[in-house]
Amino acid sequence: MCRGRQVTITVLYFARLREDVGRERDEVASTGEVQTVGDVWRGLHGEPPARLMAAVNQAHARLDTPVADGDEVAFFPPVTGG
């Protein structure tokens, strides 16, 4: 139980995905129903699109990567650097 303490997961969007979503960040209350990166996306936007990339605390992640209170979760399209 975390009564009396506000715990959240910060969600960031980049590039085309930020434009599709229409904002650059969300705050998600950390509850027992949000266990993974995929849960974070589904809770906000429904089924994840194909080729969705993600990171947790600035390290590459997958949809089944666990998330915890205070994490920074980022979603972005395929990368095109170099």
């Binding site: 085309r16 990171a55 095109t80």
Partner: protein, 145 residues
């Protein structure tokens, strides 16, 4: 290891020379350098400008991870990696990967590996401005070309 992001144009050859002044060159028989420039065409269209978005913090960490993993695989190498962010004009340098080693194979293979992993893993996204003023996100890098 040195990984740097530049919001302004940079001279890759000056970076290579600057780094070489600090290296024991008498022990480094090979230096493999890749320098990538912005083209003024992509998918048969004229491209006038590029904006390179990145993920501040993660981009630097991810480049350092890619270089560190190459240094684990080829323990003898020394690396210099630089990448532009923000607004870029045609013919400006986008990326530098320089790898020094005692022998040519490690330098060449590590340079190629770092570049390919950078292109497929590091969080950068290109947005192009075309001749007619419209803009578009680059959906993917040209595979292995």
């Amino acid at each position: 290891m040195a990984v740097r992001l530049f919001a302004r144009p940079f001279d890759p050859w000056a970076l290579v020379q600057e780094r070489e002044r600090q290296l024991p060159l008498e022990r480094l028989g090979a230096c493999s350098v890749f320098a990538g420039r912005m083209r003024d065409f992509n998918e048969d269209e004229d491209v006038r400008a590029l904006f390179l978005e990145h993920y501040p913090g993660m981009t630097e960490r991810d480049l350092e991870r890619i270089v560190a993993e190459a240094e684990t695989r080829w323990p003898s190498i020394t690396c210099e990696v630089a990448h532009r962010v923000g607004a870029v004009e045609p013919a400006e340098i986008l990326v530098l990967v320089a790898v020094w080693s005692a022998h040519r194979v490690a330098a060449r293979d590590a340079c190629s590996e770092i570049l390919e992993r950078l292109k497929h893993e590091a969080p950068f996204w290109k947005r192009e401005r075309l001749a007619d003023g419209t803009e578009r996100w680059v959906e993917r890098n040209t595979p292995g070309q």
